[in-house]
């Protein structure tokens, strides 16, 4: 079983698309779940930290890994180096930082960027060099793990920066900082900002654009599964044609998260059908219990298979760093997403099952739903009462009888034609726009 757990662990595929700092929460999670030996994770952490400036932290880990008290020489040296560099950067950025710390001075800034630059130069002798220094300083702060400082500075930097390229990377930095500080609302705003830039900006090659989208989606995973409204938003973002294409070409493992969101989210049913097609297409390149569950229910109508997959899904969700978030509730710790997922998955099965049946034995149904007889009956009664299900229970025979779902001919006809008027209307507006556009030319 342990082996399969590792098989479903996406960390190796996700990590390359993340920032170093963003990988830490994942590693923490893995350590907690004890999927891998502790030592391995610690080693990996040190490796990660070596490229960052969080030397102290690295030293701590080193100590706990090798059970020694002294840190290796190169780390000590590196620490000195980092501190020195921090000092020099601090000095370089000092004028601007002091300016920004002064609330009265900040009041003077206006929405006009040009004006601001002019004003800074004339009255405070702050030129492009200092602004650049601010960026470097903020980056360094981020490297050192001081995310809130980095976020603040980057925010300020963006108001002053005129270089688009730089501005974008500042934005990425800000996004990372907010994610690491777990300010989900702000992070989400930043995410949208980055997304707008990626979509509107012209990239050197389509390749770059795709890569950027993929990064964005990966980073977004933190937000979507923590933000209250995230599950709708993840579908909104991932299911856009451009992003879906990117997933299919380069990161099919993201399908897991999208699939989960689809199952959990009831409001996005209409898009589900499209998504099922995508799953079928990508079947060969990516397999995952969650994705397979959808395939079982909606492609093969293999309900027993779906049943089995559901159990595997549970395992996957609990062990996934993004999906398996725990909530401490007194002495229990529960994974809210898991419960939600199971509930919805059950509903999925049941709905489809009912659609093709006329009469179902309650016992079998209970078994299929992973409930006992009483519970199943109550569950169904509830469904009938809330008129989600058009059925009756025959308690003598112990069966549920579906009402024949003969579609009304009249209704069908209306369904067929309803969309037509809208389409025609749209067509006419398009036509008019077009002719107007031509006339204007």
């Amino acid at each position: 079983m342990a082996e399969t757990k590792e098989n479903y662990d996406l960390t190796p595929r996700v990590a390359p698309n993340l920032d170093r700092h963003l990988v830490f929460p994942i590693l923490e999670f893995l350590q907690e779940r004890q999927l891998y030996p502790d030592e391995q994770i610690l080693k990996f952490k040190i490796e990660l930290l070596n490229k960052t400036n969080m030397v102290d932290y690295a030293m701590d880990i080193h100590k706990s890994l090798y059970h020694t008290e002294d840190a290796p020489q190169d780390m000590v040296e590196r620490r000195a180096e980092v501190v020195a560099r921090l000092k020099s950067l601090e000095e370089a950025a000092a004028p601007l930082v002091t300016f920004l710390l002064n609330p009265a001075a900040v009041q003077e800034l206006r929405a006009d960027k040009q004006y601001n630059l002019q004003m800074l130069k004339e009255r405070y002798q702050i030129g492009p060099d200092q602004i650049e220094a601010l960026y470097q300083y903020a980056k360094f702060q981020f490297e050192c793990g001081n995310y809130s400082g980095a976020a603040d500075y980057l925010y300020q930097y963006r108001t002053l920066c005129s270089n688009l390229e730089r501005s974008l990377s500042a934005l990425w930095g800000k996004l990372a900082s907010e994610i690491l500080m777990q300010n989900w609302d702000i992070a989400f705003e930043e995410l949208n900002r980055v997304k707008d830039i990626i979509d509107s900006k012209s990239f050197a090659s389509p390749l770059n654009q795709v890569q950027n989208r993929i990064w964005l989606m990966h980073w977004g995973l933190y937000i979507f599964f923590n933000h209250d409204n995230g599950r709708t938003q993840i579908i909104d973002l991932f299911n856009q044609d451009k992003y879906l294409n990117a997933i299919q070409t380069s990161a099919p493992h993201l399908l897991r998260y999208l699939a989960t969101a689809f199952i959990v989210n009831k409001r996005k049913r209409p898009q589900l059908k499209e998504f099922i097609k995508v799953i079928q297409q990508e079947h060969y390149s990516y397999k995952d219990p969650i994705v397979e569950f959808l395939a079982c229910v909606f492609v093969n109508y293999d309900f027993d298979g779906a049943q089995k997959k559901m159990k595997e899904c549970e395992e996957v969700i609990v062990n996934d760093p993004f999906l398996g978030k725990r909530v401490e509730n007194g002495n229990f710790s529960t994974v809210p997403l898991r419960d939600e997922f199971l509930e919805n998955a059950r509903l999925f099965i049941f709905e489809t099952y009912c659609r093709i049946h006329q009469r179902i034995d309650m016992g079998v149904l209970a078994e299929k739903l992973n409930l006992n007889y009483e519970e199943a009956e109550r569950w169904i009664v509830n469904l009938i009462r809330t008129s989600k299900l058009d059925a009756k229970i025959d308690s003598e025979a112990g069966t549920v009888i579906m009402e024949p779902t003969q579609p009304n001919v009249h209704e069908q006809l209306i369904n067929h034609t309803k969309a037509l008027s809208g389409r025609t209307y749209k067509l006419v507006t398009q036509l008019l726009e077009h002719t107007q556009g031509q006339a204007a030319r």
């Binding site: 698309n17 795709v210 890569q211 297409q281 093969n300 079998v364």
Partner: protein, 865 residues
């Protein structure tokens, strides 16, 4: 065929070339008539000639006479020779008068020399003389006397000419361009004759001896030179001389090659050697005239060896640069090997390698594929691959990645169609060849003259192959994607897809195809790329079938089979069409495009796959829509075949693939899956497949499934309920499968029924519309079609405005065939991915602007982080 004869245009003349040689020896009379005809014809047929100054006209007449004399000489016909000689003399007077020249034209002198030589020979050959007919020998004697008298007049000129024929010729060249051209053609003919068949007639032989003598003399001159006296200048001058003779009359192509080859041995500097080597290769290419013929195999091999030597030089002396853009300076090659700066030599390695490859192709095409020889030739392929690999390496080292990509494409094109087994075999062969080659080399080195510039074999003579063909493809293809130009990339992409399909990676292959957007613009590409595209589609279809994706397989192949021109589309033979007569020109072009046999895709297998796919899709479809006939046709081709077979009064036992599938179809329509499978199982073509058993299993499973569906469609109206168990038993399928299949049908509303779970039965619902209702349905459907077509018209005009329109179309990805039923356009027509493009749309990949680059996304993944 030489241009000289083709000019005539009339049939009799076309043939005359061959016939002459065969008939003439035996029958002189006929000969005469022929010749006479010829002379007449020539005058007639030269109608296209523009009016020329009298001088030229006279000259031409004289040339004609000389020409006829040559012909007469060839067949030892002294009578006509004599006649013509008189004619020439008469014309000479005219010419001299017009040109007011003191000296007779060199053409005349040359003729005299020729005649004299020929005469002496004829006299010396006593035996032949005896055999001559009386009239002929009489003419011979008369000729001897006349010539003696005549030659005395021009003794001086003749002697001069004998001393320096080259100079004379050159003058002549300048004077008479027209004449030269015709002569050349004549020469073409001659040399070809000599190449192909040495013993046409005694007389030709003798004439050739004289020629040989001449060139032997030249060779002698080259060889006899004392090595010490050879200087760069001398070699350079010689080289120029020989090059000037290229393409001129009197220079046999083989000799040119020989002479040049000798020159390479005495070249003084590496650069000079290089320059001469380039000329050798060009001369070797010249050996084969015309487009349709191919290079002799020996020459081809030598050519490859020469290329390798060039590379040796280039690798060893890396200050030498090959370039074809600049005109190098005269004495560039005199710079010694240790010269500091770069030495530029004119040449184009890519063009050479491409030419070598095409020649190899042509050689293969001209050999009967069922002979041993063909296999022998195939063994030469590693040799070519080694060369290509070396050149590519060289270019990469020089930083010329564009050229490297082009060479890489050649390599890709020679391995993409090889399945792993064949690739493995080639790899082993290459290792074997290595040993043999070493032995051969030893022999060669013991040749008489060793060259001045000895170049050690720096570049390896054998190709190195990675373990798997896939690995090799990956390396080459990614190089091309990075550096190639549009066409190179497109071709490489197609080869890549083909190879993926060959390896049964259908998913990867399909994704590549969809992402590259090749099917959108393939009809703008050149024909050979289109053929490659068709081949790729065919292979993709086969691949989809092998992995059990029938629908995909069918949509790949249906277009190839939409007109009965598969052979043509895949360039695997020419199909005769009743309605469309081809001109010989077209036919020749087509022949040139043909694929060599070892690259063919088995057509029977392809047909079987296509028809079986169509059957599996079409039979249940027909059953489902039996009432509203031909409303939804999936495969037109299949429907047509079915109709034909149904029209027959008696069905004979199946013979070809088509009959088999039709027999299977008849069984399947009745739900008799066993018979259907047995009929298909008896097909011969299955042995072409690697994992035959598993594929047949798949086919069987699919047949069962479709039989079940067909059965339900056909007979559901006769049942109130049907038990799961019974169905499972009837079609020998597991209950779970039946459940899944039937459920699918219910959800898709193909079957109006539902399960009764406690009793495990299907309960059928009676659905019947009144006439009014069904009419109303028809009306709404027509309305939506109308709306759709409006939108489409709008979209076409505004250039694809509405995004939501296309997404809606995606929903009803209904009839592939409808879209594919297409217009029978010419070549391009078949490629427009009607069916498949529809799938591309539904594949959600539309609107992404990237070609090959996407592939690199996955390769470069995670650069950041």
């Amino acid at each position: 065929m030489s241009r000289f004869f083709a000019q005539g245009g009339s049939d009799s003349e076309d043939e005359s070339d061959i016939e002459e040689e065969i008939l003439e020896d035996q029958n002189n009379d006929i000969n005469n008539r022929y010749l006479q005809d010829n002379s007449d014809d020539d005058d007639d047929t030269d109608t296209k000639r523009v009016i020329k100054p009298t001088k030229d006209k006279r000259f031409e007449e004289m040339t004609h006479a000389v020409e006829q004399m040559k012909n007469a000489m060839k067949i030892n016909d002294w009578v006509s020779l004599q006649e013509n000689f008189d004619k020439v003399n008469k014309q000479l007077e005219k010419v001299m008068r017009i040109t007011e020249a003191v000296k007779p034209p060199s053409l005349y002198i040359k003729t005299l020399v020729m005649l004299e030589d020929f005469l002496n020979e004829a006299l010396a050959n006593k035996e032949a003389k005896k055999k001559m007919s009386p009239s002929n020998s009489k003419a011979l004697n008369a000729m001897r006397q006349k010539l003696k008298k005549n030659n005395k007049l021009y003794e001086e000129d003749i002697n001069k000419y004998r001393e320096a024929p080259e100079v004379e010729e050159e003058n002549e060249l300048e004077d008479e361009d027209d004449e030269d051209e015709e002569d050349e053609d004549e020469e073409d003919d001659d040399s070809k004759e000599a190449v192909t068949d040495e013993g046409v007639g005694d007389t030709t032989d003798t004439r050739w001896e004289t020629m040989l003598n001449k060139k032997d003399k030249q060779m002698e001159k080259l060889l006899s030179k004392d090595p010490k006296e050879i200087t760069w200048d001398w070699v350079n001058q010689k080289f120029k001389e020989i090059m000037a003779a290229r393409g001129r009359k009197g220079t046999a192509r083989f000799d040119l090659v020989d002479q040049l080859t000798h020159l390479t041995k005495i070249a003084k500097t590496p650069a000079q050697k290089l320059e001469i080597l380039f000329s050798v290769i060009s001369a070797q290419f010249d050996v084969n005239p015309g487009l349709s013929g191919h290079m002799p195999i020996k020459v081809w091999k030598k050519c490859v060896l020469n290329m390798l030597t060039i590379l040796d030089i280039l690798v060893k002396y890396n200050n030498i640069v090959v370039d074809d853009t600049i005109e190098p300076d005269e004495n560039e090659t005199s710079k010694p090997a240790d010269y500091d700066g770069t030495i530029r030599v004119w040449g184009n390695l890519v063009a050479f390698i491409v030419r070598i490859d095409t020649e190899f192709f042509k050689i293969l095409k001209s050999i009967d594929p069922h002979t041993r020889e063909y296999v022998e030739r195939l063994r030469d392929e590693p040799m070519f691959l080694a060369l290509a690999q070396n050149i590519q390496d060289y270019f990469e080292r020089m930083g010329d990645f564009k050229a490297a990509a082009k060479v890489a494409l050649r390599r890709v094109e020679s391995i993409y169609y090889k399945p792993q087994e064949v690739y493995e075999a080639m790899r082993k062969l290459a290792e074997l060849v290595e040993e043999e080659e070493e032995a051969e080399d030893a022999e060669e080195e013991s040749g008489p003259i060793s060259s001045f510039i000895v170049v050690p074999e720096v570049v390896p003579r054998t190709p190195t192959f990675p373990e798997s063909g896939r690995a090799m493809m990956d390396i080459l293809v990614s190089l091309i994607y990075r550096n190639g130009d549009e066409r190179t990339k497109a071709r490489a992409m197609l080869c890549d897809i083909y190879h993926h399909a060959l390896m049964d990676n259908f998913g990867t292959a399909r994704d590549l195809l969809l992402m590259s957007h090749l099917q959108d613009n393939i009809q703008h590409m050149d024909i050979s790329t289109q053929i490659l595209f068709n081949r790729t589609m065919a292979q993709l279809g086969l691949c989809a079938f092998r992995v059990g994706m029938i629908t995909e397989s069918h949509s790949c192949l249906s277009e190839l089979y939409s007109g009965q021109r598969v052979r043509e589309l895949l360039a695997q033979g020419v199909s005769q069409s009743r309605y469309h007569e081809k001109t010989p020109e077209q036919e020749r072009l087509e022949r040139r495009r043909q694929m060599p046999y070892h690259m063919h895709i088995n057509l029977e297998l392809l047909e079987a796959v296509h028809l079986i796919g169509a059957m599996l899709l079409e039979v249940p479809n027909m059953a489902a829509n039996s009432l509203e006939a031909r409303r939804r046709v999936i495969s037109k081709n299949f429907r047509r075949l079915l109709e034909i077979s149904e029209r027959q009064a008696f069905n004979a036992p199946p013979e070809n693939v088509r009959d088999h599938v039709m027999a299977a179809t008849r069984a399947l329509t009745k739900g008799d899956f066993q018979t259907a499978f047995e009929v298909l199982n008896s097909l011969e073509v299955w042995r072409m497949l690697k994992n035959r058993d598993s594929i047949l299993e798949m086919v069987k499973a699919r047949i069962k499934e479709e039989a079940l569906r067909t059965y339900l469609f056909t007979y559901s109206s006769s049942y109130e309920s049907l038990s799961l168990e019974q169905l499972a038993k009837m079609f020998d399928v597991t209950e779970a499968q039946v459940h899944s299949i039937v459920s699918k049908m219910m959800i898709n509303e193909e079957l109006h029924a539902s399960w009764d779970q406690p009793t495990r039965c299907i309960v059928f619902h009676e659905v019947q519309h009144s006439r009014l209702q069904s009419l109303a349905f028809q009306l709404t459907e027509k309305l939506s079609v109308l709306a759709e077509s409006n939108e489409r018209a709008m979209e076409a005009r505004t250039g694809g405005g509405g995004l939501d329109l296309s997404s809606r179309r995606r929903d009803n990805n209904q009839d592939y065939a409808g879209a594919a039923s297409g217009q029978p356009r010419d070549w391009s027509g078949q490629n427009r991915g009607g069916g498949y493009a529809a799938r591309a749309g539904s594949g959600n990949r539309g609107g992404m602007q990237m070609d090959g680059s996407t592939r690199m996304v996955s390769l470069n993944r995670g650069v950041r982080a």
